[in-house]
């Protein structure tokens, strides 16, 4: 969701982990546009990149030669990589000046929380289980199984775009500061892990750091599981059924593995309310993914019935807002904050997620470099466009190729949407959500963490 490739520190990676040139151009551009860092920041960045590189070297050892020589990466015209292209596009679409708004907000935010934001701690990535998966994944290179995309996301996006959720949780934790009163029962058993959970590092409880990590794991597991393909719909262009089915196995297992770890991690927080609320966020995500049909490459179909912006909001909340909002609230619970503060944190997470989602949905409409570039038919501007011009205005541009495949005249469609009021309305909505998010954080006292939250919120409304 949050695409933020290429912080400067990432360029210090060993050569085999560096982006291929096609992808790396963006990185270079950003680097130059970022402000110079102080010496301490530099040190921090260095140690962080060493840590990250370490992490990746070890666990993705098996990937590396394959991904570097992967024919798919260089093959831009490949329709199977639509989503991948979209993602890459998203990055290149940010003109360097504007991109740095979000980038800067993010890198400042990382400094505030103290640690590098690599939550996927070594013990998970280095576990036998995941390196096993990595080894098996080599067999799939050359097919179009979505799990490769997810795995590539790890290697190339670094831990960035994947881990903004955790960052938000940490920032909210820090902004809220130390909690008031502990619950009585927590005090009673205050030994061992519990007392660990109460230690604060750079103003964040250890339990809150675990929670941030868990949030990331849940999200990644969701990405993996959403990438399971329906074998019935596999076409010969995707790869053989055997390969795809094997890819499914890997996707299911690694997703399950992350979910299971998230479960045990949650249990160890020793707070059943937190377990309940975070579980309900997972349930929301699953529910959300049943609202819209997708094909094997993750392209969503137009829903059968008319969709209003309300449906869109509901769906987006279930799919991405719920996890962030509920994790933020859970972080407050862990620190023992009052209910009204919990509610504010929840609202911040919810509106921030929605605003960011709108921002991402709007990107295809602010770029003119490739008029044929596909975009989601269920994105906010499209839904607003249909509300305005009627469903037929969109369905006219779609030719059904078969039951599960369609062709869309994206060029024409984009032009029409741009002519109507939908883009403006979507921007308004984005602004609206970010205002609500800002209003929610006013409850916190002024602090670095608070202004980092505010900066991130403002950054998503700049187009």
């Amino acid at each position: 969701m949050f695409s933020t490739r290429g912080l400067p520190s990432r360029t210090a990676l060993p050569s085999f982990l560096r982006l291929p040139d096609v992808l790396a151009t963006n990185t270079v551009r950003t680097t130059t546009s970022l402000p110079r860092r102080s010496v301490t920041d530099h040190l921090l960045a260095n140690s962080r990149s060493r840590f990250n590189a370490h992490q990746r070297t070890a666990s993705h050892f098996a990937f590396r030669d394959h991904f570097n020589s992967n024919p798919l990466l260089g093959c831009k015209k490949d329709s199977g990589l639509i989503m991948n292209r979209l993602q890459r596009r998203v990055v290149s679409m940010w003109p360097s000046g504007r991109k740095s708004d979000w980038q800067k907000a993010l890198s400042d935010a990382e400094k505030v929380v103290g640690y590098p934001t690599s939550f996927m701690s070594l013990r998970y990535l280095l576990s036998d289980e995941l390196s096993n998966v990595a080894m098996h994944l080599r067999k799939l290179v050359g097919t179009k199984h979505p799990i490769l995309k997810t795995a590539r996301g790890f290697v190339y996006d670094g831990n960035n775009s994947m881990q903004t959720r955790g960052l938000l949780v940490l920032l909210v934790s820090k902004a809220a500061g130390p909690g008031g009163e502990w619950e009585e029962e927590e005090e009673e058993e205050g030994e061992g892990e519990d007392s660990n959970g109460r230690t604060m590092v750079s103003g964040i409880y250890r339990s809150q750091r675990s929670l941030a990590e868990i949030t990331e794991m849940i999200h990644t597991a969701y990405l993996m599981h959403r990438g399971v393909v329906n074998l019935e719909e596999v076409t010969s262009a995707d790869g053989t059924v055997g390969d795809m089915s094997f890819g499914n196995k890997m996707a299911v297992l690694s997703g399950d593995f992350l979910l299971a770890n998230a479960c045990t991690g949650l249990a160890q927080l020793r707070n059943t309310k937190v377990v309940e609320i975070v579980s309900s966020a997972i349930a929301d995500m699953m529910e959300g993914s049943f609202l819209l049909e997708q094909d094997n490459q993750g392209v969503t179909f137009l829903p059968d019935k008319d969709w209003t912006i309300k449906d869109w909001t509901n769906h987006s909340f279930l799919c991405s807002g719920s996890l962030i909002a509920k994790s933020c609230q859970a972080a407050m619970m862990l620190a023992g904050h009052r209910l009204d503060i919990q509610k504010k944190a929840y609202n911040y997470g919810k509106h921030m997620a929605l605003a960011h989602r709108l921002h991402a949905d709007l990107l295809p409409f602010s770029d003119s470099s490739d008029p044929n570039m596909p975009f989601a038919l269920t994105s906010a501007p499209m839904v607003l466009h249909m509300e305005h011009a009627g469903r037929a205005a969109v369905t006219d541009k779609i030719t059904q190729v078969s039951d599960k495949a369609m062709k869309v005249d994206y060029k024409q469609l984009r032009l029409e949407v741009l002519k109507g009021p939908a883009v403006h309305a979507a921007k308004e909505l984005c602004y609206d959500h970010s205002q609500k998010a800002l209003a929610a954080v006013t409850v916190f006292q002024e602090s670095e963490a608070k202004s980092a939250l505010e900066n991130m919120t403002r950054a998503v409304t700049r187009f």
Binding site: D128, E129, N132, H136, A221, Y222, H225, R226, V228, V229, N230, L231, E232, E233, S245, N248, K249, A251, V252, L253, G255, D256, F257, L259, A260, N261, C263, T264, L266, A267, Q268, R270, N271, T272, K273, V275, E276, S279, S280, I282, A283, M286, E287, S289, F290, Q294
Partner: protein, 294 residues
């Protein structure tokens, strides 16, 4: 979709064990006049079945099975992606229910089960080179995939009954031993039973490249099986040869003896509780597990 398997057609073996164990523990703990299962214990039994069902849904995708409990499985009907998300949904609903009980230790116990299930599935992917190690690997995998759920949920109800650490351990050991025996019998039935009875295809393990106890025993007599185990019965004719070898040797008998040993251990453990009708039922259950046909 998530209601699909909860139609009362399953054996409901796990909830039954858990409920009986709750009552046995309550009785042992001194609630002689009212040993009925507590609402929280009932909930554990439901959660146990939900976790089991969620794992079935995922297993069916991994194993590419098309029938389960005598009907088409979810992944076959609705496509794999939805099946997986449904499995996740069931799992998270169960963990919400678990959290609602409000006992931290119980939450930790049952989340251990989920982790074990996944680790068991990963263990199933690999085969150990060494023959001695292979059997240990098999037993460990069996514990994680089947017995862990029973063992931990039995311990959870013991915790909820307010029993002492000793009683909790008894409940855990009973569940563990019964679970392993259950799976051993399951693996035997894969060779003996017919498709209609089981509600799932037979000789399925071999086709998936898995060497279960009967095959491992047979390999002691027919060393050529070892090569097949290593290549996971991938060459044509391997499955048939292995089946034949199993029927020619007394490996099924050996597997049965092993299962009996586990059952005896389960009985020995449960005898430590105060005598009650439920305790007797749990003892009888071990015999039922041994003699089951489906």
């Amino acid at each position: 979709m998530s209601h699909y398997y909860f139609d009362g057609q399953g054996k409901a073996f796990r909830p039954m064990v858990v409920l009986l164990m709750s009552r046995a523990c309550n009785f042992h703990h001194g609630a002689a006049e009212n040993s009925l299962a507590l609402p929280s214990q009932r909930r554990i039994s439901m959660i146990a079945e939900m976790i089991h069902t969620a794992s079935l849904v995922h297993d069916d995708v991994i194993d590419e099975a098309d029938t389960r409990r005598g009907k088409a499985c979810v992944s076959y009907l609705h496509g794999q992606r939805k099946a997986i998300l449904t499995g996740d949904y069931i799992l998270t609903v169960s963990s919400m229910a678990l959290a609602a009980i409000g006992n931290k230790d119980v939450v930790i116990l049952l989340s251990q089960v989920i982790e074990d299930l996944v680790r068991g599935e990963f263990m199933q992917l690999g085969t150990k080179e060494d023959e001695d190690e292979r059997f240990a690997h098999y037993l460990k995998k069996t514990f994680k995939k089947t017995a862990s759920l029973l063992a931990h949920s039995c311990r959870a109800v013991a915790v909820l009954s307010g029993s002492s650490k000793d009683v909790q351990e008894v409940a855990y050991q009973y569940g563990k031993n019964l679970g392993i025996a259950f799976q051993l019998v399951d693996d035997m039935l894969d060779f003996m039973s017919t498709e209609e009875l089981m509600g799932k295809p037979t000789a399925a393990d071999l086709k998936l490249g898995l060497a279960t106890a009967p095959v491992l025993f047979a390999a002691e007599k027919y060393p050529e099986l070892n090569a097949m185990i290593m290549r996971r019965f991938s060459e044509p004719g391997d499955v048939e040869l292995a089946r034949e070898a199993v029927t020619k040797t007394d490996s099924l008998q050996q597997a049965r003896i092993l299962a009996e040993q586990y059952c005896r251990e389960a009985v020995r453990q449960i005898q430590q509780l105060a005598p009650s009708p439920e305790r007797e039922a749990l003892v009888t259950l071990t015999q039922k597990v041994l003699n089951r046909k489906k």
